[in-house]
Symmetry: C2
Subunit: 119 residues, 2 copies
DNA sequence: TGAATATATGAACAATTATTCACATATTCA
DNA sequence: TGAATATGTGAATAATTGTTCATATATTCA
């Protein structure tokens, strides 16, 4: 039974601990999704967009101006943020306004800042 | 004065809003550091390591076993986690035990999970 | 309708990065 | 001391990804 769970090629120091942790580990899909989510936060341009949207609902062009980027680059990044359900948008004529989708973004941002500022 | 702050090449929709957000934006260094921090969470292997260490202090070999990876790959990734002050370690003979450095890791992890599971 | 403007998008390029492999270092113990 | 074991590390490779550029789409308004 343990042969199926444990990797035979590696010397295990504490087999009991290893089996216990293997059992309590979240499934691969959740781990993958979590990594994908944090990857979205892991880019300076997107982080800047998030910071800006923490203050105000903003349109693509104004975000580009604020972040010293181009509307095209921002549009690409907003798509990534949209796909992760971190931002939502509303259309008003030619202009598309983006805003943060829920409070998790702010909470994750704040926890990150706490860690940075504590070190 | 506004000429220095605003990017002239982009049409601004709401100048007042743009200037206000530009002023309240965190400085580039903090934004960069935050992105670098979340980048560390943005990899499946590192996320698995973090999940494992949420349960138990573990040595390199056992982490490799748990994550179906090699000690070398894990060692490389632990270096990244160490540099971000997310894990700490203690040496016991040949064996090096790693554990999470502070509660921020767990908090960031939990906030991420909340977001995933709400969608 | 047609010009002007805001945003979106596909392809290409450059840069970053995770893993592998070989090997180095450190520690134990016979 | 020397073999065995655990971990660390540098270089190379493969894969991922952010930005740019050209262009497409959508909307307004004269």
């Amino acid at each position: 039974m343990n042969e199926e769970i444990l990797n035979e090629d590696i010397q295990i120091v504490d087999e009991e601990k290893v089996l216990k942790v293997k059992e309590t580990l979240p499934n691969d899909e959740l781990i993958f999704d979590l990594a994908e989510l944090f990857k979205v936060f892991g880019d300076s341009t997107r982080m800047k967009i998030i910071c800006a949207l923490l203050e105000e609902e903003l349109c693509v062009g104004d975000i580009a101006c604020i972040t010293n980027s181009t509307p095209s680059a921002i549009s690409h990044q907003l798509r990534v943020l949209k796909q992760s359900k971190l931002v939502k948008y509303r259309k008003e004529g030619k202009v598309v306004y983006y805003s943060l989708d829920d409070d998790h973004v702010k909470e994750i941002f704040e926890k990150g800042r706490e860690h940075i500022e504590e070190v």
